[in-house]
């Protein structure tokens, strides 16, 4: 007989309650949860593929940029790999399952591979990312400039984390995923995700505070 302590340590019988409102809102309004759209993607219907791309691209590219240290070329490679994989496995899609979680998983894996490839090539400084270009090309009030500077600094600190830590922080703070869902996405335990997330933020603060005058 399995003791109660083992049961409670074990696997959930039901989906956990979302830890923040972002999770609930995302699932409810998310076109990537639309079963009819996903059924069209499975059939490789052109109109459905277009709608799917328009819905998925901001999510995938946004993740890719953050996970690859703001390197545009690497982010584009990652984005392309994700959509390539989607197209290849389209006929196996289950329309009843929202697409966002598995897009996230594919993007995390592709970004990790891209990061490892990038370690063998000379790196471009983070300052040459599109963020600097975007913020430079747009006249900005001081508050906006300050937040862009924060964005650069945070990205630089993020880039110094391990690939897994970076993925956890991005999924939690950018995607708004609860630790439980991040754990499922990355095939880690809930406790491991929470611990690594906390450690990652501490490491980011150490880098950021070291950069302050």
């Amino acid at each position: 007989m399995i003791p109660d302590s083992a049961r409670t340590r074990g696997l959930p019988d039901r989906e956990p309650v979302p830890e923040n409102h972002l999770e609930r809102d995302r699932v409810a309004d998310d076109p990537l949860s639309d079963a009819s759209l996903l059924a069209g993607v499975r059939n490789r219907d052109a109109a459905a593929l277009e709608r799917f791309f328009d819905a998925a691209f901001p999510h995938v590219h946004g993740l890719a940029i953050r996970l690859t240290g703001g390197r545009r070329e690497a982010a584009e490679d990652v984005t392309q790999e994700v959509f390539l994989k989607v197209y290849r496995v389209a006929d196996r899609l289950d329309p009843a399952r929202p697409a966002r979680p598995w897009l996230t998983t594919i993007a995390c894996n592709a970004a990790r591979d891209a990061t490892r490839r990038a370690k063998t090539r000379p790196e471009r400084p983070v300052d040459s990312t599109f963020v600097a270009e975007a913020s430079a090309s747009t006249p900005a009030p001081s508050a906006r400039e300050e937040s862009s500077e924060d964005a650069l600094r945070v990205q630089a600190a993020l880039d110094r984390l391990t690939e897994t830590e970076r993925c956890i922080v991005v999924l939690h703070d950018y995607e708004g995923l609860p630790h439980s869902e991040i754990a499922r996405t990355l095939a880690l335990s809930h406790a491991a995700v929470r611990k690594r997330y906390s450690r990652a933020l501490d490491r980011m603060r150490q880098h950021l505070e070291g950069d302050l005058p």
Binding site: F53, E76, R117, V170, A187, S189
Partner: protein, 271 residues
């Protein structure tokens, strides 16, 4: 108060800095080109950025051609993933591995005898837990006959595969499994696992796949796979039909027990 309460970089400021990048600053040409290729089905592998400057390309190619055989051998060696390890043994008796037999009490002998793609037969009343570190944990239960998977590579040939002739195998994937596939064949069909906790039981009546976490794709062959979500099981009968239902308590309890006993083996310590 914790240390970071004094830091100017609060959790909220960090998260805001992360979100501030904006979600879609992609090059318009890239986005539109990718969309067109995706919709038309002409999407290809990305042309990896960061290539060598043209003036150095010819020299690079000559060197590469000269070193290819050595590099290939080295890459194969370095690219090999972790070797298969014995992590748990319960019960007594003799394990058949290919043409050899090893006592379950001889742990070192078991480890030496493990050979990829060899057929093993677990004695009745026993269990054998095997591990590709951080990638895949599986336990062959009493009376199971199965082949052992070859070592997965780190960079290519990352997928795993084995065959179950009879018996039950409990499976849990690890943190380095993400992005890989595990393909398990039984006489009734194919189970494709992309990251999950599940059991596969093959008996005279057919194959039963029970999933606790993640999703497994199950079917007669690669063209007729059906997803089995958490809490469900799919039974492929020998007559070719299939049945879907909720996992029954004995299977659920067995998987939870397996997870509780051995999960620490597949999850790296956070120490």
């Amino acid at each position: 108060m914790s240390d970071h309460d004094h830091s100017p970089w609060s959790d909220e400021r960090l998260a805001r800095g992360l979100r501030e990048r904006g979600s879609d600053h992609a090059r318009e040409a890239f986005r539109e080109g990718l969309k067109k290729d995706f919709v038309q089905g002409t999407i290809e592998e990305p042309d990896r950025h960061g290539s060598v400057a043209p003036g150095r390309r010819r020299v690079a190619i000559r060197w590469a051609a000269a070193l290819v055989p050595l590099a290939a051998a080295l890459l194969v060696y370095l690219g090999l993933g972790p070797a298969l390890r014995v992590v748990s043994v319960e019960g007594e008796g003799t394990l058949r591995i290919g043409t050899t037999q090893v006592e379950l009490s001889d742990r070192a002998g078991l480890q030496r005898a493990l050979e990829a793609e060899s057929l093993i037969e677990v004695p009745e009343g026993s269990r054998l837990g095997l591990l590709f570190e951080d990638i895949l944990l599986f336990e062959a239960t009493s009376g199971t006959r199965m082949t052992l998977p070859p070592t997965p590579h780190r960079w290519w040939q990352r997928d795993l595969a084995f065959e179950i002739q009879s018996g039950e195998v409990l499976i849990e994937t690890g943190p380095e499994f993400a992005g890989r596939e595990l393909r398990v064949r039984t006489p009734e069909g194919l189970i494709v696992v992309t990251g999950t906790l599940l059991s596969i039981e093959r008996s005279a009546g057919g194959t039963c796949v029970c999933v606790i976490e993640g999703v497994a794709q199950v079917g007669r062959d690669a063209k007729s796979l059906h997803p089995v979500p958490p809490g469900q099981r799919r039974v492929m009968l020998v007559d070719g039909s299939a049945k879907v239902s909720e996992i029954v308590p004995p299977h659920r309890d067995a998987l939870r027990d397996f997870h509780d006993r051995l999960h620490h083996r597949i999850t790296p310590s956070d120490g």
